[in-house]
Each structure stands twice: as structure tokens, then as C-alpha cells.
Amino acid sequence: MAILANAQTRLLVQGLGRMGQLHARLSAEYGGQVVGGVHPGRGGQTLAGLPVFETAAEAAAATGANASVIFVPPPGAADAILEAADAGLALVVCITEGVPAADMARVKRALRGGGTRLVGPNCPGVVTPGQCRIGIMPAQITRPGPVGVVSRSGTLTYEAVDQLSRLGIGQSTCLGIGGDPIIGTSFVEALALFQADPETRAVVMIGEIGGAAEEQAAQFVREHMTKPVAAFIAGAGAPPGKRMGHAGAIIAGGRGRAADKIAALRAAGAAISPTPAEIGATLAAHAGFPSPPS
């Protein structure tokens, strides 16, 4: 089952530049169904082994696609998301980094009540191990199993997944939700999906400084989660007022501090990994997975 993506996912790639082509190939090699590309001006060509279409609607009609991954540069990213939704795709994952926040505010409102789930932007994508890779994650570090992973970060997600896999703990789905202030799928929504997924037995959540998404997640964990949750919050030592790379990662006006997020999650019953090196071990202990011989 997993969440969001599985062996039945039929993926379009929007934006077949160098990055789009590379990751279209890697996703196809991983074994997923990558069925076509959308690149205005290149319709009718074959790129990265994929038939290319002028519009997402044509591509969806011709290929039976139900999901898309967006590598379109920032000026056109919001339009590409809306186009994918208009084409009726159920899942849209936007990898693009640097999308203007106002564009995302408008897109989020436009998607409300519709049948499209957006993940990202500025995210590494979604991997359901052994079934489907959407985005840019190094899927070779994943392995199938019972732990859901959700994270605001990209490479820190890989770190956590790698730790789990090395402990012999596989993942149901690994999901990067993105580091921007306004994103398609929140921690709360991701946790709800994992809670409802019968194949997910426990969840790893990786947050960071800035905003209040982790506090909201803590409330959801307290009120709705029966599955064990292990969490790590990055940026405990970050100075206030300095943006730590991600547009969303800033402590401003005394809000968004790691300590508050950690306290909220701990109070909700989540296990907190004391350092980024113990995310896998914290989950293993909290969820009762047998420790491997050391």
C-alpha cells in the first residue's frame, strides 16, 4: 500500500531539461512507470526515452498518467503545478527550488477542494521502496519495510533513511515535503496518511527551525496518532534572525525555535533523537524494532 506512490503510479515528467531528463531515467531504471514528458516546444520528440507532449492534458490523455513530477524552473513552476492539476493528475510533486512565495499562496488556494495533492516545492520527492521513485532521492539507500519517513529537508532525509536501512529497518514511503514557507503537503497531512496506511507501523519525522508546522504536527500526534513517532529537529544552535538556507528556516520574533518544537513533540509522546546521528536508533527503540547485533 504505502502512501502517495506505488507500483500503479504512472508518472509524467514536466520540464525535461538536464535535471528532468536525468531523474526521469533514474526513476525508470528504479522500476517505476515513467510514461511521458511535458515540455512546451518539444512536443512530438523523444527525450530521456519518453514521448514528449506540449501540454499536460495531452500527455495525461495519451499515457493514462496519474501523477507528475515538476522540474520546471521557478518562473514557470506555479503554472506547471496548475497545469498538472487541470489535467486531472492526482499527485503533483514539485522539485523546483526558488518558487516565489506569493505564487505558492495563490496555487494553494486554487488547489483547495480539488482532487490534486501537491508535494513541495523545493523538495526531494517521494520514494516508495521497491515500487516507485518520484523526484531526486538516491533510491538505492531505501529498502521496503514498515516505517514512514517525512521530512522538511532533502539530504537530511537521506541521512535518516540511510540510518534506518543500515539498522535493517525498511520504509513504507519516504517523503520530503519541502523547506519553503508555503508547501503543498504539511507534516499533519503526511502523518494522517501514514496513520491511515496499514503497511506503516511507525513514523520518522524530521523537522527544522522556522514556522509552526512541527507544533501543529505535535498536536496531531497527540490527538490522532496511535503509531509510534520518532522525531528530530534540525537547527537547535541556529542564531535568531539568520536564514539557514531554506526560505522557511528562520527564527523570527521569538518563534520557530527548535526547543519549542522538541518540547511540543515530546509532550505529544514522540521520541526525540538527541542528535542527527541517532534518528534510526531512536525510532528502533521507540517502536520496538529489534536492535541488530553491534
Binding site: 518558487v99 522538511r152 537530511l156 524530521i206 534540525a234 537547527g235
Partner: protein
């Protein structure tokens, strides 16, 4: 990206928002000329305001009143060239290179008005308060009932009823409510059309009594979405590079995200989350990071070199930790960049390199073959941090 008050007020004027008469000056003579021109226009009192990218300028002596045009050059001479320390500049303060000379405005009421991107509602928020002229966070803490927030749907835009609600909350009369609607409309257009992330008018003043009272933006702080600068050339051109930390500026120009810290373990990491986590790990191992550095998703040989240069410019650095989890970035390319940069720049401090993910094995082989002196490879994040912290201690 932030801009100066004089630039902000020029933008406000373009969008039909009333601001005091005035001009920017970078010498006492130029300040005198501005004051004289204002005096000819009927001004009798003047304000001289230091132009730096930090608030709290009044508290640090960066805002002064002059009762005659003749006093202005002397006051400007005091402020120009001073290192202004405010609660927001840090102890080092900022050098004042320009002053804004304005006609003094009689003030009857001081209000607060701000437009901002609101993460919570995923839209825009307008914040208004009758308690203007004070730090809004203090007002929020002390008298939260004095703060009124109106959320705006970005797809619907600002609606007339929202202006009316806010005018009521600010206790404005009928005449001023109409003025307020026009002013707020201008601010909203500026916010949307220029991709602002924050417009803060504090104070917004009511000058004069009765039907003749006018609303003016006495001070203005504007911030813009860095992600939208590609479509805002006019705004991008307002950037004052001298207001940025020189290392952070060089980093930005090389496509790197860098934040200077005060420890001695230099860091180069790909991805903001992993970069933050690497700092956390160094701290957990008893060390102290010298910087945050996200080499980004397209780190190549040239960027790695630029990153090294930035890290090595910090004289505190006693060891460098490179932590790369390949995905979009390939570890073999990073390894080539590290060996090339280390050879070219002559890295004189121990180097701990941890490569994982895409092409990690090939990357490690490249590093092994290069046989750089002082280079140590690590397998896990903990190992890498422990090695780097020990190396920085000289053990």
C-alpha cells in the same frame, strides 16, 4: 532582501502613499541643500535619519531633530560616518553612509500598519494597531487586544470591506477612513506587484485634526522575496551590498548559502537541513561550528572551490568538515572539486570528508588516490563530527 528607508519611501510615493517631504544625502552639504529646499517649500522643522538596514535607529542616536535648516548640516555631519549601534545591529554596529533629511511632521496620532506573507493562513495578512511608534512585538505581548489582523486571499485580493474593518479598528473618522482605504490599496498593490514579503509602516501618523487630518507613512520598512527577484529587476537594483556581511555576500554571488558563526570547525554540506544537522552534531560532540554552508543542489568543482575560499577566510577555522549526501549532487564530482581546490588553495587545516549516497564509492576512491595530507575519511555523521572536533582541538 531588505532596502533602505529612503528607497522604501520612494516606492511608497510611486504607489500613491503619502510620506513626508525629503531627500537622501551623503554629505553635510547635500543635507543642507535638501533642508534649504524643504524650507523654501514651507518646512520649519527637520528630521535627519541615519540610513542603515536595522531598526531601533532612534535609540542609538541615529535619528535627530533640527529646528532650523541651518542646524541640519551640523547634525548630518554628526550622524554621517558614525558607527550606529542599535538593538538590531549587533555590538559591532553599522557605518552610516547616508542620511534622509525630511520635513518634520506634526503628529496627532501614531498607528501601526503592516502587510506580510502569512505562513499560517498561506496567504497575505494585514496587521493594524492603534499603538503605533512602538515595537510591535512588545505591543503583541503587552496588549494583544490592540492588534487587529485581517487575512487576505491572494486570489481575491484586498476587498473594500477589509479596509473598512481595519479603519474601524484604527478608530478613524469618516474622512480618514476614505484616505486609509486609498493608502492601504496603494500598499497592497506595492506588496503584490513588487513581490514584497513585508511592508511595515510604523508609525503611520495622523497629522492635523478634523476633516483636514492627513495620513502619512512616517517610517517604512520593506522586505522582498528573494525567490521573486528574477522578475523584479527594479527591486533587485536597490540592493545595497555594503549592508550585507561581506562573506555572506560573496557566498550569495557564488550560489552558496553561508552564515558565519563563532566556532572553529568549518563546514561544507549539501542541503540546508543536513547542514543544520551537521552543526548540531558538531555541538553534540563538544565542538563549535564556524559556519553554516549549504553548497546547494548543483555543487560542482567551481562551487566547492568558492566554498573552501569562504571557509578559509575565517581565521578561527582549525578544521574543516565536508559532509555530502549525494542525490542530486554526485560525490565523485565533489571529490574532484575537493582535491582540485585543496591543491590550488593549499588547505592548511585538517580536512574530514564524509561522502554518502550517489557515487560515494567513486568519490572516496578519488580522495584516496589524491592522497591529500591531513585528509581523513569518515563513514558516518557521528564519526565525521568526532574526527573534525578532535582535529580542531589539535588532537
Amino acid at each position: 532582501m531588505n532596502i533602505h528607508e529612503f528607497q522604501a519611501k520612494s516606492l511608497l510615493r510611486q504607489f500613491g502613499v503619502a510620506v513626508p517631504q525629503g531627500e537622501v544625502a551623503n554629505t553635510p552639504q547635500a543635507a543642507a541643500a535638501v533642508a534649504e529646499a524643504l524650507a523654501r517649500g514651507g518646512a520649519s522643522g527637520f528630521v535627519v535619519k541615519a540610513q542603515i538596514h536595522a531598526g531601533g535607529r532612534g535609540k542609538g542616536g541615529g535619528v535627530k531633530l533640527a529646528s532650523s535648516a541651518a542646524e541640519v548640516p551640523r547634525i548630518a555631519a554628526e550622524i554621517l560616518g558614525m558607527t550606529l549601534v542599535t538593538p538590531q545591529t549587533g555590538p559591532g554596529g553599522r557605518l552610516v553612509r547616508r542620511v534622509l533629511v525630511e520635513a518634520a511632521t506634526p503628529i496627532d496620532r501614531e498607528l501601526y500598519l503592516a502587510l506580510t506573507l502569512d505562513r499560517g493562513s498561506e496567504g497575505f495578512a494585514i496587521i493594524a494597531s492603534t499603538e503605533g511608534g512602538m515595537d510591535i512585538e512588545e505591543v503583541a505581548a503587552r496588549t494583544p487586544q490592540a492588534i487587529h489582523t485581517q487575512l487576505v486571499d491572494p486570489n481575491l485580493g484586498l476587498r473594500p470591506y477589509q479596509s473598512r474593518k481595519l479603519a474601524r479598528a484604527l478608530q478613524l473618522g469618516a474622512e480618514q477612513s476614505q484616505q486609509f482605504a486609498a493608502l492601504l490599496g496603494g500598499l497592497y498593490r506595492l506588496f503584490v506587484e513588487r513581490d514584497a514579503s513585508l511592508i511595515e509602516i510604523n508609525p503611520l501618523v495622523l497629522s492635523g485634526n478634523g476633516a483636514n487630518a492627513a495620513l502619512l507613512a512616517l517610517d517604512a520598512k520593506l522586505g522582498f522575496d528573494d525567490n521573486a527577484l528574477f522578475r523584479q529587476p527594479q527591486i533587485a537594483a536597490l540592493r545595497d551590498a555594503e549592508e550585507e556581511d561581506p562573506r555572506e555576500r560573496r557566498a550569495r554571488e557564488s550560489g552558496l548559502a553561508y552564515v558565519g558563526l563563532d566556532g572553529n570547525v568549518g563546514c561544507m554540506v549539501n542541503g540546508a537541513g543536513l547542514a543544520m544537522a551537521t552543526l548540531d552534531m558538531i555541538t553534540a560532540c563538544g565542538g563549535s561550528p564556524a559556519n553554516f554552508l549549504d553548497a546547494g543542489g548543483t555543487a560542482d568543482r567551481e562551487r566547492v572551490k568558492q566554498a573552501f575560499k569562504l571557509i578559509l577566510q575565517d581565521e578561527q577555522v582549525r578544521a574543516i568538515l565536508i559532509n555530502i549526501f549525494g542525490g542530486i549532487v554526485r560525490c565523485d564530482l565533489i571529490a574532484e572539486g575537493v582535491t582540485a581546490a585543496a591543491a590550488e588553495l593549499g588547505v592548511g587545516v585538517p580536512l574530514v570528508v564524509r561522502l554518502q549516497g550517489a557515487e560515494a564509492r567513486r568519490g572516496r576512491e578519488i580522495l584516496d588516490r589524491a592522497g591529500l595530507p591531513g585528509l581523513r575519511s569518515a563513514e558516518t555523521l557521528r564519526q565525521a563530527a568526532e574526527l573534525a572536533v578532535a582535529a580542531a582541538r589539535g588532537s
